[in-house]
Amino acid sequence: MSVDAGLVVRRLYAAFQAGDNDAARDCFTEDVVWHLPGRSPLAGDYVGFDRIATEFFGRIRELTSGTFKVEVLEIFPGDHRVVVLQRTSGERGGRKLDILVCQLMTLRDGRIARVRGFQADQYALDAFWA
């Protein structure tokens, strides 16, 4: 079970990296909620893959002119939860972002149902997107 959870998350990151939206969609439940904490304009809950893909990731790509990058450093698989430790970086209008992030992913029926980002430096992320 724990191996499956880790595999789902690895598939998701591979799909994002390849820009394969169909493969990414297959990793999520229909009612998935992606929560970005903080006070930035991007903070909040994104419900469903379409909103995640367009309003969240699409906006991120647009705001950073394609410079936004995620490097997976470690994956911590559990039975129903997986934590991904990643380095997140990008540039936006002369501002640079380079922070560590833990993505806590909760799985239901083998698919990701909830994602919450925990930033090592919430101030830096909020300032970057402000």
């Binding site: 904490p37 903080g38 934590v83 560590l100 806590l104 090592a120």
Partner: protein, 73 residues
Amino acid sequence: MQIQDFQVLDMLASDRQVVVEVQISIAMPGGSSVTDEELHLYWLNDEGKINRMRHYVDTAKQITAYGLESDLG
């Protein structure tokens, strides 16, 4: 402030690192309280002892709970 509740929800491990998911409730001086999840990331050395720890916390939520938003501009 006072910690009202502290619960370990889960622990996830790799070879040399452990992530602990906790839920914490803090009573604020004004009588309000804030409840949130945190991740605590621990690194272990060759002897299996913790030599580094880092909090992953929604500091923005805590700033709001403390009423310190105006101090940040």
